[in-house]
Symmetry: none
Subunit: 202 residues, 4 copies
Amino acid sequence: MSQVADSKGSRARTATAKRQRLTAAAARVVHQQGVERTTIADIARAADVPVGNVYYYFKTKDDLVAAALSEHAHGLQTLTTRLDRLPDPRQRLKGLVAAWVGERELAARYGCPTGTLASELGKRDEGGLAEEAGKVIRLLLDWAGHQFRQLGLPDPDGLALTLVSAYQGMSLLANALREPGVMTREGRRLTDWLDSLPDPRD
Amino acid sequence: MSQVADSKGSRARTATAKRQRLTAAAARVVHQQGVERTTIADIARAADVPVGNVYYYFKTKDDLVAAALSEHAHGLQTLTTRLDRLPDPRQRLKGLVAAWVGERELAARYGCPTGTLASELGKRDEGGLAEEAGKVIRLLLDWAGHQFRQLGLPDPDGLALTLVSAYQGMSLLANALREPGVMTREGRRLTDWLDSLPDPRD
Amino acid sequence: MSQVADSKGSRARTATAKRQRLTAAAARVVHQQGVERTTIADIARAADVPVGNVYYYFKTKDDLVAAALSEHAHGLQTLTTRLDRLPDPRQRLKGLVAAWVGERELAARYGCPTGTLASELGKRDEGGLAEEAGKVIRLLLDWAGHQFRQLGLPDPDGLALTLVSAYQGMSLLANALREPGVMTREGRRLTDWLDSLPDPRD
Amino acid sequence: MSQVADSKGSRARTATAKRQRLTAAAARVVHQQGVERTTIADIARAADVPVGNVYYYFKTKDDLVAAALSEHAHGLQTLTTRLDRLPDPRQRLKGLVAAWVGERELAARYGCPTGTLASELGKRDEGGLAEEAGKVIRLLLDWAGHQFRQLGLPDPDGLALTLVSAYQGMSLLANALREPGVMTREGRRLTDWLDSLPDPRD
DNA sequence: CATGAATGAGCCTTCATTCAT
DNA sequence: TATGAATGAAGGCTCATTCAT
């Protein structure tokens, strides 16, 4: 009994693992090369999966891109979940900024994964992937808005917009100029800004 | 003789006009569709030039992209030149922000022409087009830095970075969320910020 | 012990049932979609059998097509066996025509199962399936020839050919024109023709 | 002037010739192999055109099939136009039958070009090619109906249906049985039938 | 210089068939 | 026997680029 279960479980586990490998590879390669320049073969190679087999897990290339997107969303949620353990909303926001700065090398090389993806997908008409990318960014906006709200600040959503917008801007510039230092500098500015905000709860 | 001259002149003029039409078309279409999704045929059609003829003016597709890039650089210079007529650096910077907000519909649909281009080109290794895109953004940074410097503010280049970064961020978010309102809101914030900066020259 | 026996028996019965389900599904789906447009997966789905399992019962796709063919042959024999119960050969032939007309909706949508299959398989070189299809049609020719012979008519095989040919023609036209009425009209004509034939036995 | 005209003409002629070659090759190869088993490469090879170039003339494979269909329609009209020169409608109809019988070898090998095409296309849902095939067959029905009408016979369209139906049936059987003799025998029967019809105009 | 046509490499996707358990 | 997964060979189609005139 347990053998059968194990057997099935192992197969399922393998299948899931492969799917996961493909998703992760898609997220990584698409971040690095962009959607259009990324080949199914590229992703298959990165995931060490035969090309033809990719289609067993993802019906189309767009499905893979969607998976990459949700992988980024997942990474985002992992981060915010971790930050949520911090007691103070302001600390959480500063932790977010710190995380961004921590990724400065990647950002300087390839930009923000979600932002560049949204940018590229935004130039499409069909598929609905652009909307999907927008949703991932909204996750971040919502979380940040929640923190600002907890701080009791007026217009928390506006503040979130400013924060996330600053992140996207600094990522894009760091990337365009190939200068991780942009992340450091603007990150510090954001941290200072967060510190400067009053805490009406006092 | 004069006929021949006229003919040549007219041809030359025509030729120049064609080149210009192609450049403008490339800038427009690439902004809308992105580099990879844009076909030489797309640009040729938009410029009303036969496909085969494009290659007389541009040796490769990358040359056309470079032309699109310089077209954006040119547009940028036209704008800053106009703003330079304003007497006050602060007014010039606010004029820049106003210009950005004025393009909010386009930004919400396709993002910042230069920013999205830089983002897409940044995912390439070869060609040097990424560097080219960086240069165009630097033009903007330099101009803004110049204004902040004229205002006598400390760290003018840092302020320029913050300003341009904010622009790229708000364009990307407006685009990702398909909300021109982001441009309006963040534009107002930038204007307020510019107004809030001291003028050490006083 | 009896459990094991039952189990085996049930399995065997199940296995046979599965084979039968696959055969029936193949006949149906191939009739509807044609050989080339039909996927093993299509048939497996229609038979509610896992794809991988199909190959336990049929070594190749062609084997499945052959099974579909013999399924049609079987259906044909079921029909002629039923008609054979009628006392008069002329009644039997008219019964055949009536059966054809009874299938007019299916014929108008997908043509004669055997005829369209023969037509498609006829465009192959290898495999011998074309011959197989020819044999099924010959079954019909033989049966009809037998009836005409019993009627004592001269050239009974020629009459059979004319009859079956008319059936194939009207099926094809009904299908091409998507008009079941063709079956009705030509069926009536065939019935009248059968009635008009003399009965030399009188 | 004439040089330019010639030059353009020659190019146009070449292009047209190539298109024509592709159309003819498509008609031929599709007749022999069927739609699904025919690859673009097959047609390209038969027309001696590089594969990639095919798409300059035909946007999709279906376009090529449509071209093959209209090629058959064209052949049909060439035939009927020739027959129209005969003074008597009955002679024209008998001429049609004779033409069919003349093609018996091809019919025995590959069936009626239009009929088998209609049969294969009829198993599709999309594309509208099935309808197109139906139209080609209607051309034949209409012409035949016109002849019967000129003969002053009652129900001329019904007679046309019977005639064309007989043709499709005998082609299919000749093909399925691989016996050109079927065409001869049934052709003779049709000729006799046409002769047996009264001429109400007498 | 202009232009329709040509070329070929490459990409996404499908599918019959096989494998591992 | 059963079954999800794996594999690899095509096939349709696109497109940057080149050619011939």
